[in-house]
Amino acid sequence: MNSNHNDTIIIGTGIAGLTAAAELSARGRKVLMLEKNDSTGGHVGQWSVCFPFGISGRELAESILPQSNANVSIRTRSTASAISTLPDGSLSVSCTDGTAHSARTVLLASGYGMFDARLKEELGYGIYPGVLTSEDIERQWQKGERPLAGHSNPRFAIVHCVGSRDLKCNIRHCSKVCCMVGVKMATEIRQRYPDSQVTNYYMDLRMFDNGYEELYHDAQLNYNVQFVRGRISEVAPTNDGRLYIRAEDTLLGKPLRDKVDALVLMIGMSAHEPLHVDGEPMNRSINGFVGTASPVQINLTATPGLFVAGAAKGPMNITEVLADARAAAAETDKYLSR
């Protein structure tokens, strides 16, 4: 076991982990970060443009925690598997590669998983190449790829709430950000393909945060994005290599069809399997994400010294994650000062 020279171990190097690491290192705390992937930045780090910041996820992540920081060391390809309390009250994190790391506090910033769109078979993901997820598109754009290049007048349909608010998939929660992402993506598609037609299919539009409603208005007025209240529930291939889709326009009570070149699914955020702490799975909140110690202690878990930040607790947008991670860092620092 490593010697106890870190004040905090942060699990996850998405924007929550990076923000907390930056805050704690600024307060002179030594931080070890564990990242299961090859690189830092989490989901957001793979996004081409973040609303409302207008920069790429990679730039955003790098602006939070610049690469070199004397107080922060990062171990990639390290997947935390369990946490245990040591006799002196500090915590030990064991990883799947057999290593263990200990510190007085642990901050869980492990984020969320993306819903596996293949589970909604009626939408044809993994069956028809024209069906993509929001994450697929963000990654392709981030890499500079241009799907559907050469199509004239490409038609896009964007499906909201895929893997959210879906009792059949045992997912009750709303993923909160995907309405904004769907509308943002619609305007981006209209910018990248000026001769395109984009239609968003929604159940409700939940444009809750600053700038979201303005984005929606802008999408209608200046980008001519169409909005249909209804849920696409059947997708089939056409002879000319496109996708035939069926929905109901529930505002008119009429069946609706379209033929599109690409169907983009706004996949929701799913909770990770709970980590085991002292042999027991962690408490979960109503939506299956990591639960907190009390309604007021929103960054502490039931285990002393084990804190939690960001979308590990449930869907959050970037602004919320930044605020939450700073609060978690402040709580962690307070705990360490005791």
């Binding site: 239609t199 007025l221 909005f227 209240r229 326009d249 008119l252 069946p255 609706l256 069809r257 033929k259």
Partner: protein, 121 residues
């Protein structure tokens, strides 16, 4: 009857891939802000004609125009009272739509096909 190049496809189905909404395009030329209608129905709720005196729904008319559908709403009954525009949260001049609807040549698309819904080939 003039051949407009229409043929009945599937009554009652909205086919976005083939829809022609020339009237809507004409309306947008005058009132581009009509794109921002959110189908809230505030206009329809205060309209004195709304399914009380006559079969008219401002909200429905707007969606049907947008989809290029035959107009099922008796919009000709509009009394130009302006109540719809007063309550629209998007500040849309809906009355002006009805005022001008008659003048759009392309409205023929909608009138002549009122009885049987059609889509362009």
């Amino acid at each position: 009857m003039k051949d407009f190049g229409f043929k009945p496809v599937r009554p009652n189905v909205i086919d976005l891939a083939t829809v022609q909404n020339r009237t809507w395009t004409d309306i947008l030329r005058l009132h581009p802000e009509m794109r921002s209608c959110i189908s809230c129905g505030a206009c329809a709720a205060v309209c004195p004609n709304n399914n009380e005196l006559t079969k008219m729904s401002v909200r429905r008319t707007i969606i049907e125009l947008r989809h290029g559908l035959p107009l099922t709403s008796e919009w000709q009954n509009c009394q130009m009272c302006n109540r719809c525009s007063l309550v629209c949260p998007k500040g849309l001049n809906t009355r002006s739509i009805f005022f001008r609807l008659n003048t759009f040549e392309a409205l023929n698309d909608h009138n002549q096909t009122n009885a049987e819904p059609t889509n362009r080939k």
